[in-house]
């Protein structure tokens, strides 16, 4: 007993400064993220309208949610958008990084051009692309003016392709950062690997696909966190570009949540929708995040 107390007198006060310094993080994690989430989940079982109130109605909000065509459309749109956005931003980001990594001239000029949209907000991005894709002023008008009278490129007013209109803008804004991350990752690859592959006579594209990309796993993980969290949260861009239209062709879950919480003044419904979003995020992200960031003790 005595040895034990003298050995570690105060587990709580061990690294006390570190704990004190982490209080803001603990506060954010527990009070804001966990607290806010729990609060949201609890109120998703109520019939709260404009103001939160604790009148429980069981699963009513969820039943309604899953029978609402707009919600279903939102989920579908987000899936399409998410998959396309992941594929395209990773591919384009990587290809651009690989091109910039060829010891080219003016690398920093190209890099700056590709990265600058990242400094602009989604609202601005949405506005500019809305303008560019406007059939009466933008690309379509321009191409028709060149003499190709039947040219049709009208993504923002065509239900079947509106999601691509949003994707074009989202990629414009976001691939720069992905490219930057990938470039950093490429620069972190051991030079000898490249040399070994060259001596082995492996073509460059094969070296990238079979050797370099698998080696860049940590970069892809970080990038994935950044892209995926952006996809789940996509809202501003849609609002600025299409307001969810035409029809429900570009509705997204975050917008459903916002609209029902605030403009429909049905907090319960909005909370139920957010709970579903959170649940999806938790199912996908938590096990992975724990493995990636929590379980591994690199310095154990």
């Amino acid at each position: 007993m005595a040895t034990e107390t003298s050995k570690r007198p105060n587990t709580l006060f061990r690294n006390l400064n570190a704990k004190i310094a982490s209080l803001p993080m603990i506060f954010t994690a527990l009070v804001v993220f966990v607290g806010g989430t729990v609060w949201t989940v609890v109120y998703s079982f109520t019939n709260s309208r404009l103001l939160p109130r604790l009148q429980f109605v069981g699963l009513d909000q969820y039943e309604r949610l899953w029978s609402t065509p707009r919600w279903l459309a939102s989920i579908e749109n987000l899936m399409i958008y998410g998959v396309l956005s992941l594929i395209f931003s990773l591919t384009i980001g990587f290809v651009l990084a690989a091109l910039l990594d060829q010891k080219i001239r003016f690398e920093s000029v190209f890099r700056t051009i590709i990265l600058y949209p990242f400094a602009l907000s989604f609202i601005v991005t949405g506005l500019v692309w809305q303008w560019l894709l406007n059939p009466d002023f933008g690309v379509q008008h321009f191409v028709r003016g060149l003499g190709w009278e039947t040219f049709t490129f009208n993504p923002l007013y065509d239900q079947s392709i509106v999601i691509y209109g949003i994707l074009i803008a989202a990629l414009w804004q976001g691939t720069g950062l992905v490219m930057c991350l990938m470039l950093a990752g490429l620069r972190g690859i051991d030079e000898d690997i490249w040399k070994a592959a060259r001596v082995d006579g492996i073509p460059m594209w094969k070296t990238y696909i079979f050797i370099v990309i698998p080696m860049m796993r940590p970069v892809f993980v970080t990038t994935l966190v950044i892209i995926a969290s952006g996809i789940v949260r996509v809202y501003d861009l849609v609002v600025a570009q299409t307001s969810g239209g035409p029809g429900h062709a570009s509705e997204v879950p975050a917008k459903y949540v916002y609209d029902y919480m605030f403009s429909a003044q049905n907090l319960g419904q909005g909370f139920a929708a957010s709970t579903m979003m959170l649940l999806t995020v938790l199912i996908v992200v938590v096990p992975w995040a724990y493995l990636e960031f929590g379980g591994r003790n690199k310095r154990g």
Partner: protein
């Protein structure tokens, strides 16, 4: 043998000597630079259109096409966007919002980076029990749509009595900037050789001593990354700015939204574009000035998982 060597090269008859012949217009270069130039055009096009449109008069916009350079350059739209565009009864353009944005951005960036860097440092170097759980929660928090958190945050701010104040807004930005910045700082500090940290501890430096004297001086690149992310994020924020402030302190983005969405008759695209450019100017300048460090810092903060 010699024949084979000779015919395998275009410069047949010349004994290979010196550097491998590389023509400027090799197929590889045409492909490489061609692709990059095409891509650059795609990235530059919106900026070009914004600038060109903002310099045209309305009649020219209505009848011309968006890509044509202005026939007659006018700075009227810029002046209007900056100082006279109306929202409701306020006809002060963006100018009012500019200083508000500065007042919001500076403390928010400083506080959020300070806190995130200390978090990252505590997580990477001190590893107290449970730290990883909090960190995992933070990372998951990065996926929560902001809209979901509006209401809980209203309640938290109300209970703290700082709703509608600058302090409240700074707190909100700190909270939402925390996941990604903590991740970056944690990764960066984890890549600092542990010997350095151990040596400092043996020398008797404590938590803060090591942070201020060892870690801070060697973390310029990652601070630049965090700064760019935060400056652009906070400056570009619309949602928190509109929900957690009031008209006297509305940031520039709210004014921008007001100008762009206050349609009076026809949309004044030129004024909208000028306003958009003006609003994006600060993050663009920050980015252009420190872009090089950004790339370097990203390498340090993101690559080492």
């Amino acid at each position: 043998m010699a024949d084979a060597v000779l015919t395998s090269h275009p410069a047949a008859g010349v004994e290979p000597f010196g550097p491998r012949p590389r023509r400027v217009f090799s197929r590889r270069n045409i492909f490489l630079y061609g692709t990059l130039i095409m891509v650059s055009l795609y990235y530059l096009l919106p900026l070009y259109v914004m600038i060109v449109t903002s310099l045209k008069g309305m009649p020219e916009i209505r009848f011309g096409n968006v890509f044509a350079p202005p026939l007659e350059i006018t700075f009227e739209p810029w002046v209007k966007a900056w100082s006279t565009a109306c929202t409701g009864l306020n006809c002060e353009g963006l100018s009012r919002g500019f200083w508000n944005s500065v007042r919001i951005t500076i403390p928010s960036v400083i506080v959020s980076i300070a806190i995130a860097s200390i978090n990252g440092y505590a997580l990477a170097n001190w590893r107290f029990k449970g730290a990883n759980i909090f960190f995992t929660i933070l990372i998951v928090g990065a996926f929560i749509p902001y809209q979901v958190m509006i209401y809980p945050i209203v309640i938290i701010l109300r209970e703290m009595g700082i709703y509608g104040t600058l302090t409240g807004l700074v707190l909100v930005h700190t909270i939402f900037g925390m996941p990604i910045n903590t991740l970056l700082f944690r990764n960066y500090f984890a890549s600092v050789p542990e010997e350095l940290f151990k040596a400092a501890r043996v020398d008797g430096a404590g938590f803060w001593g090591i942070y201020f004297r060892i870690m801070l001086p060697m973390s310029l690149p990652i601070f630049v990354v965090a700064m760019i992310i935060q400056v652009t994020g906070i400056w570009n924020d619309f949602l928190f700015g509109v929900v957690y402030t009031k008209p006297e302190t509305y940031p520039m983005t709210v004014q921008l939204n007001n100008i762009v969405n206050s349609v009076q008759g026809v949309k004044e695209y030129n004024v909208n574009m000028a306003a958009t450019l003006l609003t994006g100017l600060v993050p663009l300048i920050v980015y252009f000035i420190s872009g090089k460090l950004f790339v370097r810092g990203i390498a340090a903060g993101a690559v080492k998982g």
